[in-house]
Amino acid sequence: MRKLHIIVIFWFLSISLGQTDDNIFSRSPYLQLATDSSIHIVWRTKVKINPIIRYGKDVDDLNEKIGSEFILERRTADESDGSINDALSLFDAPKGTRQFEARISNLNSNSIYYYSVFDGEKRLTPKDSSYHFKTHPKPGTKSPLYFWVVGDSGTGGENQAKVHSAMRKYNQFKNLELNLYIHVGDMAYTSGTDGEFSERFFKMYEPTLRNTVCWAAMGNHEGKTSKGENGIGPYYDAYICPKVAEAGGLPSGKEAYYSFDYGKVHFIVLDSHDLDRRPTGAMAQWLKADLEKTKAEWLIAYFHHPPYTKGSHDSDKEEQLIEMREHIMPLLESGGVDIVFTGHSHIYERSMLINGAYATPTVSEGVILDDGDGNPNGDGPYIKSAGLVPHNGTVQVVAGHGGTKVSRKGTMPIMRSIFVENGSVLVSISDNVLTGTMLNLDGFIRDTFAIKKEGTVIHSPIEDPWNPVTGQKPIKKKSISGGMKVPPVAKMIIGKNSQWAYFLDAEAPPENWNTLAFNHSSWKKGESGFGFGDNDDRTVLDSMKNKYTTLYLRRSFALPEGVDYKKIGLVVSYDDAFIAYINGNEILRVGIESGNGKKVRNVSSHEAKNTFEYFPFDTNAIKALEGGVNILAIEGHNHEKKSSDFTIHPTLILKK
């Protein structure tokens, strides 16, 4: 037991001091800022060394060398002895830390080099072919690309490790090698301190980082200790990002936002956390200029705060998310962006092909260009015009599921694929096809989508797109003004004065309120009909008067065996209008021109007059029925709040 105590305390101390291992490296060598002719190798030691990098195209013959004169040495402020530039001192690294940043230049493009770190003549990294790097292809040249996307990973916990391991095993199995790694932020919880970076990022991903450049975007957790305005903090100590267009694109003048090229692919990285996101801000101005300049064939943007999400965060309610959607997305789409990766919200959400979804709250009407699943083996890839064409469709991917606890608030209507589990995204681009795969922490593929570019494609927004709540395309109902005379009844499936669950509130119920899966146990119960005024209601809802216009009702029912579906119909007494659903599918719309719930438009006036009208089930209503238990859900609408009466009294019949 005592041994266990010692281990725990020792472990606790090692975490708190930010130490990673016992060898000479306090951060093992990792790659940064690659171009078609150069790369940076960065590492840290706890002691003074004479830094040398040997490299070459043959792992057994590292015939090139750069010495300390070309390697930048950085130390903590209190360690400065005047031999290094104080402006480059490390922010909060442990005392005695030395960070070395070696820039190797004059390299061949698209070529693999092996390397090793030396202290004078003493080799510090093992002779191991995994210590290698590959330079980028020349900008504008054709070259396949394969990269890894991770967000919100930095817990240092088991799930983060499993996500990393799943990616490595998958690549090993498929014989694939990453060309780069993009991190959409929150890589070092809780505050992005130097120690958290060492433990929860560098130590965790060490075997990947030694041969793959991580191009990072800053998350809000890194933002607690690092500032985009001045480029100071542990995040900026960890990464070497382009400031003056070292890797393509246009110079931003700061590491917080930048762009880089890989062959015919242009990447744009933004700081959505702590910089001005308005159109007049320096970042948006830079973005506009950068988009105007690039001649790439693929355009990929990434940043931390998602413009569209209902995961652990809500993009309809939070400042940074709203601003990225309202100010930055119009610019990106006007520049022809193909795909946007984000994090922050701890979930995997992947959209349909969208354009122009800048409104708050986000709606799917008028913004979905292709509502298929994008899966090459399903509905087929999303098709776009060749090259970069403004407003030709974007896929949004929220990849905030890289290691931390995942959760979901609701359903973002533009999304096609949603998974509340840890994982990461692997993306390949080959010629005119981009393919994305969501790999979960157990190594299972949970989502696959593709974008294919060919010819000229002109998209029009889909009027009634696929609905992520019901998982179906909506069956659009035309509004009708009234029903028919009630026919002779063989059987009442739901009779008059039956008990229903009802919901009356200023807020709308959850969006899946009309589906079978929804649990209405918290709703009030009452006997039909419902309403106020005219003395024709069993459940009187006086609180509705002058306050609410909409009442939501739910009731389950089972169909008698051997029933002739064509004889089923609704018989309703109503004042003023209503929409009926079977198992989440709209089957009938009476006196309401468009919209649902709080968003209905043009509600007609209609008096119940103590009479019932008959609405036979059409083919779509019949299709919506299930064999066992069904849910009939009805939203009753009053013409206006100040109306003197309201009634909804639905029944379900089987006619003779």
């Binding site: 919880y189 305005e229 003048g253 700061k254 830079w286 105007e292 309610k317 939070e318 970069l388």
Partner: protein
């Protein structure tokens, strides 16, 4: 005794682990507010906790609650610079400019290093500018540059804008050029070119514009700039051609229902210079309607007035 000590250490270590995992698992903004409220109500009413909660309130757009928390944080610790900066920005956002200025002055008082002082000066300059006092604001932005000659991209943009506000346009090219040289920022380079055009220094601007036109994929911004230079040098037909092709490209780039603000401004300006005043005025009205910054609307407004006067 030893056993007790070990247990204490073990307990502390486990507490740390629990706290760490707890802290990392709460990233839902509302949940975080609830968590911080619980902490505050259970005795942890520290400046840091009030500050953290204020940030989350701000994210949700609840500025009143954010301001209240920041006031309490500052009562606990008057030298809490992050809280002071945050409340300054919130006050300005709520158009309570006098209080924002006083708050920014306090940030300067609390600043210790040259870096902190210069950054605080810029904050005050921004607050004074927001309050409509550009003449006063420029004193502070100038001092910031004296304290930190390298400056930041945003500082140069603000300073140049202030020079424009106080009608010292002829000084803008120099400060923007310096900023571009020191930072490499393309935003400053482009702002420098715009300032050259405003100061009628067409000979310096035109060669750069021509180069950009060759190397850019989307050319409307550069066509617009070249048209201004052509108008300035009397090449009216060439200018009109540029403006027409600029509009053609903008038609493709501008979303018909939800256009990007800066692209509407470009379209409005191109239309104004082409003499399509009605269309230009529509774009100006739209920009004002969607809350565009003065920096975007003023050049368009000026162009419309100029054409109308002619």
């Amino acid at each position: 005794m030893h056993k007790k000590l070990f247990r204490l250490h073990l307990f502390s270590a486990l507490l740390f682990v629990m706290f760490a995992s707890h802290a990392t698992s709460h990233h839902d903004t509302k949940a975080l507010i609830e968590q911080l409220t619980k902490r505050i109500n259970s005795g942890e009413s520290t400046a840091e906790n009030y500050y953290k909660r204020a940030i989350e309130y701000r994210v949700l757009g609840q500025l009143e609650e954010a301001e209240n928390d920041l006031k309490i944080a500052l009562k606990h610790n008057a030298n809490f610079t992050l809280a002071r900066r945050e409340i300054t920005r919130i006050l300005s956002k709520k158009s309570r400019h006098k209080l924002a200025i006083l708050s920014a002055e306090q940030v300067i008082t609390n600043a210790i290093t040259q870096r902190e002082k210069s950054s605080a000066m810029i904050l005050l300059a921004q607050m004074l500018f927001n309050a409509g006092e550009p003449l006063e604001a420029i004193k502070y932005s100038s001092t910031a540059f004296k304290l930190n000659p390298n400056g930041k991209v945003e500082w140069y943009l603000l300073h140049a804008r202030l020079l424009g506000e106080i009608k010292r346009n002829n000084e803008r090219p120099e400060i923007l050029r310096t900023g571009y040289q020191l930072t490499g920022s393309i935003v400053l380079r482009n702002a420098w070119i715009d300032s050259l055009l405003d100061c009628k220094q067409y000979e310096t601007a035109l060669p750069i514009i021509e180069k950009e036109l060759i190397s850019s994929r989307l050319k409307s911004s550069w066509k617009l700039r070249r048209a201004k230079a052509y108008i300035g040098t009397g090449k009216i037909n060439a200018a009109m051609n540029d403006l027409r092709t600029c509009l053609k490209e903008l038609d493709q780039r501008i979303h018909p229902k939800n256009p990007a603000m800066t692209l509407i401004a470009d379209r409005g300006l191109a239309n104004a210079l082409l003499g399509n005043i009605g269309t230009a005025k529509n774009d100006l009205a739209r920009l004002i309607h969607i809350g565009a910054d003065k920096w975007i609307t003023i050049p368009l407004e000026q162009a419309i007035n100029l054409i109308e006067d002619q």
